[in-house]
Symmetry: C2
Subunit: 503 residues, 2 copies
């Protein structure tokens, strides 16, 4: 059996490790760009990233890498089970990397940079037309990329598979259709029965206090601050690498819940990264499965866990201790309702966990039409606004608040949005599995103890790396295929009582 | 004439640029390590730095680089003057890089890392013997390196030349001997005539106020915060790259002058880096000459400029505005005397600008004896303590406060210490040249205007890059060879009046 002592396997591991280390370097620079970079140093950073991308591509397509793989593939029976998974996925990654001509990689990188700046400027001005040509080019490249990769005209399937291995348009469509049927009446029922949070309920929460409280919460959830940190950036994200996780958040003195739940969301991502097995870092067994599974982790901690009554049974007194005056006039039930407020909004990133899914249904529908050729880029704003009116009951008064709100397409990241909703479905499915497996789990939370849940996610999800694709993983961990039923059940159980109580 | 349009010259420039960009990546990571790195992520960073060092070495020794140089060297008369400088120095750098076998580079890197940790631990415990073997190995490698580089047994000359191109042991010895003859009686006179700052004179200066004031000062000196920043680290330093300068400082609420002058010192380094010509970045014309010249810039801004009465004529009221209560009991003369307090101390980095030079004379003497073989590593502590007693009048009560105080030797950085004193001499020499060239220069400072001095340094020093070596540069800018006379004159003029006044 091929073990780490086999020369070819050792060579493979060191090639993978080197590529991983270079990626982690790019990742620190990417984090630094959002957190620290002086405004006048943007061009310098772009040049650094370009040189690194070139070196990374060379590392990922190194002929020695291929030679080691061929040698190992020649005697497949000789591979240990873990080695076999690593060889299979490393081959997939290598082939995907070499199939793209350098010319194409460079063209896409250039377009990403140009389209990003065009997007930022046109979003500011709320003008769609000047941005449209960039989207046209990205669509053309996405189709070209699928052909290079051997997916023929299944360009959208390829785009989805890149973010969630094993997923297809057909499968996502089936899941989302079922979700939509259940979700639309549920949203109407919840919204009709609840009132939005009173304006000005939260005022004057000093940043230092918010920082201290979120640190207390995220450390209790299990984030290891000896191997990670949290800083401030315009848009919260989780960057860095598994051995040095760099999360970010943002602070608003009049909206402490935004910062707190953003931080918990990023902590969910961070816990997944920190949970990847150190001995496998750099190999496919030390990498996350994809965006949907990643999002399931962030959503589970943010929503199912941290918006629960059990969580606040423990943390409410801690929150009040940090902000005694600011919370004096807010009773427990009002606080809980503010944490779980539901109200349709035009902007995805500002939305609650119930209506969030409608934003994704909208984008999935738009992306399908674009890739089928049913929708021209020029007609995107009208299509967006019509779907927004239909799904959310809100018509964007400007493209800034509509089709231009998200950064993703400017980077050519089609097929990414569905992952958010896949993550939401998976989070709920994991949640009910965990509740069944661990009697009294919520009582743990009420004592500030999250170790049983984290331990289970570590073993079942984090330690698996990319061993299974998205759907296999869900099936193995929860005992049934991915389904929207659990998300619908969870939303009903958490939100209908709040709606009823307000009637 | 060879211009940027010649193919070989273009290839050379892009090889140089690529190496520069990779170096700047390593530099951001180095900064991040001191400022942000979580304690548990040290091994991850070490691995990143190792991979980067390998890629950097490959870039610096790329055969294409050599081929482009050979092509350009074949027709030396065809080169424009700037191109000719670039080719000459790029050749020197290339040859120095290829002459070192990879085995040697890896061995030195490993030793640096191990010796650093051994140093840190033994400094903490104040134990010299367990650290001695690392110094022995570093000395052996330094001798070996000189042989590889063709310097034969002139290992200490090579070490000095690496930090200050063109300098030799003999030349430094002549300069330092002259300095010592003038300095020793001067120190005695100043110390006898002044009293140390009263303990507790400065208490309770909030960090936020210190940050605001130092930002005001350093921006007024000319540091461009659109292309740089200042953060906090254990030991202040100036890192990053010319297009993205990353300075650091540290704060002590009971010692606001330490943070302020550390920041101004690093600002001097930062101004030099920001003053390198953008169009030459990556080439020897866009690089600093060496450590001595670098230190001349930091010292000039820190000492000659910012400890002057003229500087404080402008900034005293600003300082008091930031700290009205804390400075209420400190009159102007007391403040000025605290800024220019002189008192021998065991620790180099805590010393004033007068006695600082004695610390360097000590280290230069020690390094010479080590390289001549007159001093065994085992006898270092005794030799150190004897010289400290002789020069500073202070005997270290422990090796932590003596021979183990500095990090440099743990990295094999012999020949580095002299640069500090070369910088001090050069700063004073530049100072008198500037005073003669710009009548009323100090009156500028009293109005908070430093632009004439900075403009002159930009043209005379920063814009020259590595065109001239240390001694040529001093000769061209000041009209005479580097000499300690100016430093001695400056110290007499600034400090003797303070000593006299206290008698």
């Amino acid at each position: 059996m091929s073990s780490p002592s086999s020369p070819a396997y050792s060579r493979l591991l060191s090639s993978l490790r080197r590529a991983h280390v270079l990626e982690s370097v790019a990742s620190v620079l990417g984090w630094d760009e959002q957190v620290n970079l002086p405004e006048g140093s943007v061009a310098c950073r772009a040049e650094q990233m370009t040189v690194l991308a070139e070196i990374l591509h060379a590392a990922a397509t190194d002929p020695d890498f291929d030679a080691a793989l061929r040698e190992l593939e020649a005697t497949p029976g000789a591979l240990e089970p873990d080695a076999s998974v690593i060889v299979r996925l490393a081959r997939r990654d290598f082939d995907r990397a070499v199939r793209l001509p350098s010319r194409f990689v460079a063209e896409k990188a250039r377009l990403q940079s140009e389209a990003y700046h065009a997007w930022a400027e046109n979003r500011r001005n709320s003008t769609f037309s000047p941005y449209a040509p960039y989207l046209e080019q990205h669509l053309a490249l996405a189709r070209e990329e699928a052909v290079f990769q051997g997916w023929g005209d299944r360009a959208y399937d390829y785009a989805i598979d890149r973010h969630d291995p094993g997923m297809t348009t057909e499968r996502v469509d089936a899941l989302f259709t079922e979700l939509k049927i259940g979700l639309l009446p549920l949203v109407r029922e919840i919204v009709a029965g609840t009132r939005p949070t009173a304006p000005g309920l939260f005022r004057g929460f000093p940043v230092a206090g918010q920082q201290a409280f979120l640190r207390e919460v995220t450390a209790a959830l299990g984030f290891d601050y000896r191997r990670g940190r949290i800083d401030v950036s315009l848009h919260p994200f989780c960057g860095g690498s598994p051995a040095d996780v760099r999360m970010t958040t943002r602070f608003d003195v009049d909206n402490p819940l935004d910062s707190l739940f953003s931080s918990i969301h990023e902590t969910g991502h961070g816990l997944y990264e920190q949970g990847l097995r150190a001995e496998h870092l750099g190999t496919p067994l030390g990498q996350s499965v994809g965006m949907g599974v990643h999002e399931s982790q962030s959503r589970l901690w943010e929503n199912q866990v941290s918006r629960s009554r059990a969580f606040w049974t423990h943390f409410e007194s801690r929150f009040r201790a940090h902000f005694p005056e600011q919370t004096a006039a807010v009773d427990s039930e009002t606080l809980y309702r503010a944490i779980n407020a539901v109200e349709p909004t035009l902007i995805r990133v500002d939305s609650d966990e119930v209506t969030y899914n409608l934003h994704i249904l909208l984008r999935f529908e738009i992306e399908q039409r674009l890739f089928r050729g049913d929708l021209k880029v020029a007609d995107l704003p009208a299509a967006w606004n019509a779907l927004s009116t239909e799904l959310l009951g809100l018509t964007p008064p400007s493209d800034r608040l509509g089709v231009l709100q998200d950064v993703h397409w400017s980077g050519g990241a089609f097929g990414y949005f569905p992952s958010y909703c896949i993550g939401n479905m998976m989070a709920a499915q994991l949640w009910y599995t965990a509740l069944a497996a661990f009697p009294g789990l919520e009582a743990d939370f009420a004592r500030g103890d999250f170790s049983r849940l984290l331990g289970w996610l570590r073993t079942e999800i984090h330690h698996q790396g990319r061993r299974y694709d998205t759907q296999e993983l869900v099936l193995r961990v929860t005992g049934e295929p991915l389904s929207p039923r659990h998300l619908l059940r969870y939303l009903r159980e958490r939100y209908l009582p709040l709606a009823d109580a307000r009637r």
